[in-house]
């Protein structure tokens, strides 16, 4: 389940468990001025832990009130190590808690450490509990508890997904990074004054702390593990309109970080803000943004919980028995031609079981609306987007196949199966090298006899130069493509008609080979026959792609 995070150096020193079984705060005496400064700046208790680089997850999982009380107790302990840094730094244990009589630096006028408000916010536990954190804007306060976990879980349950694990993702307002940076500068100053240094990377991220707390809570509510990776993603997002303007000053210092793009609602994306913060100098930042950040009057607003299940891929082979059925919906000038399509006939019966929200249909090549696909059929795969159910037993998949086949006599599906995204790529692999077999009904202008078409059977490996057919030229580049007709078999029907079987390299345009396409396919059947020929009917007899694997009955 949740992997414990074990990197911080704090782990090694203070994992003392008190008699109640609760973890004591792994803070060192030297952290005390930092904690005070952070509390004074209006940081919440969990953000204080983050900036003290506390990597002990259980410390964050205490209730917010308990943590705030403990932190308060910690800062209330007398101790000013400012004149004793070298000794503190080397000590692995918090030094003895003997009271020191010196008053804390910067706090000298206040006097009473037991929580006097206004003048001493740094020691004000109530303020830390009740007021909105200047850094996380409340994310680690009111949106990080069992109640919020329940809300998230209820939203997930209402969506009706089937899942056996989930990954929790959180999206924070971009200005949180600005506030984080400002607070980090504050801490850095404190630490620098003490002669030690602190890397920004050691600070625990808001997201990380959020997940440490929430993963377990959500897991308890939903009864499935919350993992770092899962097919099912639950996203919670927060906005904070009050401080949206926080980022704007960055545009003046780093204009090239904020380029408008069509798909962006605002130029101040999280990534752009982080990039700009990496570039801006400390002096510049301090000049343009308050350090510590200003106190917000409202907390973050949680957005609607978003659920997304990874796509499911369903593959198989289809036959198409109709000459008035396109493979995909055929729309001209916004108007629909033909009432159905292969992809609709295949996917519609899957809707009620997978409860998907959309699909992408792909196949190994495609046939024209007036072409049938017979034989073993054409391999296809359909990506079902955001399915609410993704797991099916083999017997259930077979039932789905039967449902598709019962729903229409224009198509038929076989070898229906659930496959991986990677496997779908195999269908497209070497598509051009594959062989396809066709059957065509040919018309000749001049009357023929049986012997007139005999020569066709002797043609082997005929190389064609095909210019992009006029009928597809509007959406494909103009090119001349070399294609092979491996073999042909002609069977006489009557003086103006014969049947032609062809085995060709995939990508050969058969219709154009027969009528010549204004002489743009060379050689063409008219040329070979020295007579005008036309194609009246065309069937795909086989698509020799050995994917997906056959399913036994």
């Amino acid at each position: 389940m949740v992997v414990e995070f074990q990197t911080s150096q704090h782990q090694c020193l203070a994992n003392k468990i008190d008699i109640t079984g609760q973890a004591m705060l792994p803070l060192k005496i030297k952290d005390r001025p930092i904690v005070r400064a952070l509390l004074a700046a209006g940081c919440c208790a969990r953000c204080v832990l983050r900036f003290c680089c506390v990597g002990l997850q259980s410390a964050y999982r205490q209730t917010y009130e308990d943590l705030a009380t403990e932190l308060h107790a910690f800062v209330s302990e007398e101790g000013d190590e400012s004149n004793d840094t070298t000794k503190q730094e080397n000590s692995e244990d918090p030094p003895c808690k003997k009271a020191r009589l010196e008053t804390v630096q910067g706090n000298s006028e206040g006097g009473d450490p037991a929580g006097v408000p206004q003048t001493q916010p740094g020691t004000d536990v109530d303020a830390a509990v009740s007021s909105v954190c200047v850094v996380c804007l409340g994310v680690l306060q009111q949106h990080c508890d069992k109640t919020f976990a329940q809300k998230v879980s209820e939203a997930v349950t209402a969506e009706g997904y089937q899942f056996d694990s989930l990954v929790l993702s959180v999206s924070l307002p971009a200005q949180l990074s600005v506030r984080e940076h400002s607070t980090w500068l504050l801490v850095k100053k404190q630490v620098r004054d003490k002669g030690t240094c602190l890397g920004k990377d050691d600070v625990i991220q808001v997201k990380e702390a959020f997940k440490w707390i929430m993963n377990g809570l959500v897991s308890q509510e939903l009864g499935v593990p919350v993992l770092a990776k899962s097919l099912f993603e639950v996203s919670v997002g927060f906005t904070h309109p009050e401080t949206d303007g926080d980022c704007h000053f960055l545009a003046t210092t780093c204009s090239d970080c904020f380029k408008p793009a069509r798909n962006k609602l605002s130029v101040f994306t999280r990534m752009a803000v982080v990039k700009a913060l990496e570039k801006i100098s400390e002096d510049n930042f301090r000049r343009l943004f308050p350090c510590p950040p200003s106190r917000p009057s409202t907390g973050c607003t949680p957005q609607d919980v978003q659920c997304l299940h990874m796509s499911v891929f369903v593959a198989g082979r289809y036959n198409k028995f109709s000459r008035t059925l396109p493979q995909t919906p055929w729309v001209i000038d916004g108007e629909r031609r033909m009432e159905s399509s292969v992809e609709e006939l295949i996917t519609a019966p899957l809707l009620s079981s997978f409860r998907y929200e959309g699909f992408n249909f792909c196949s190994s090549g495609r046939e024209d609306v007036d072409v049938r696909t017979l034989g073993n059929g054409r391999p296809f795969a359909v990506e079902l987007l955001n399915p609410h159910r993704a797991r099916f037993r083999k017997a259930e998949v077979r039932e789905l196949q039967e449902a598709i086949n019962k729903s229409s006599d224009k198509i038929r599906v076989r070898d229906l199966q659930i496959v991986t995204r990677e496997a779908v790529a195999r269908m497209k692999e070497g598509e051009e090298e594959k062989t396809k077999s066709y059957g065509a009904l040919i018309w000749t202008r001049t009357p023929i006899e049986k012997d007139d078409i005999e020569f066709i059977n002797n043609i082997k490996e005929l190389e064609l130069a095909q210019k992009t057919p006029l009928r597809v030229l509007h959406r494909r580049p103009l090119a001349v493509r070399q294609r092979l007709i491996h073999t042909m078999t002609a069977s006489f029907l009557d003086p103006h008609h014969f049947h032609l079987n062809l085995r060709t390299q995939a990508g050969t345009y058969i219709k154009e080979f027969v009528h010549g396409d204004f002489g743009r396919t060379k050689p063409n059947l008219c040329e070979l026959m020295k007579a005008d020929t036309d194609i009246l009917e065309l069937d795909v007899e086989s698509v020799d792609v050995d994917w997906p694997p056959a399913i036994e009955d």
Binding site: R471, V472, P477, L478, H496, H515, F518, L536
Partner: protein, 178 residues
Amino acid sequence: MEGAEHRGTPSVIDRYFTRWYKTDLKGKPCEDHCILQHSNRICVITLAESHPILQKEKRIQSINYQISAGCSRLQNKVSGKSKRGGQFLTELAPLCRITSTDGEEYTIFSCIRGRLLEVNEDILKRPNLLLEKPSTEGYIAVILPKFEESKSITEGLLSRAEYEDVVSKRTGENKEPC
């Protein structure tokens, strides 16, 4: 490909193309052009069957796609799906000049606005294609009208019926035999 004799189904041109005509180009009597517009908006420019070259069964001396000192239609190149780089033609842009053995020169025009996709180089090697298969292998050029103009480009052109009407009146009046 042309004609529908001995068959129940229409020809390739009948199936996929609409025939449009422009007659007496640049005021020259009977120099009629045919524009085959595919349902996908692509147009193929050909000689109309009433064109003097076909009517008088001229022998072709030469076909020249070099329409001016600086511009040859043979230089036309298009790339990509969007056919970048093709020469853009207006209605009266010349496509080529055909000289017959009797010294007459005929200019073939674009007839429609659009991007030149290709010219038929086969007729350079086999000029007789022009006479034998004027509406298929003897085509002159392929032009792609702008998407937004694919309907309006045919407004100034004659339909098949209008064209037949014009041609029949010509022979009926017999005023100016072509």
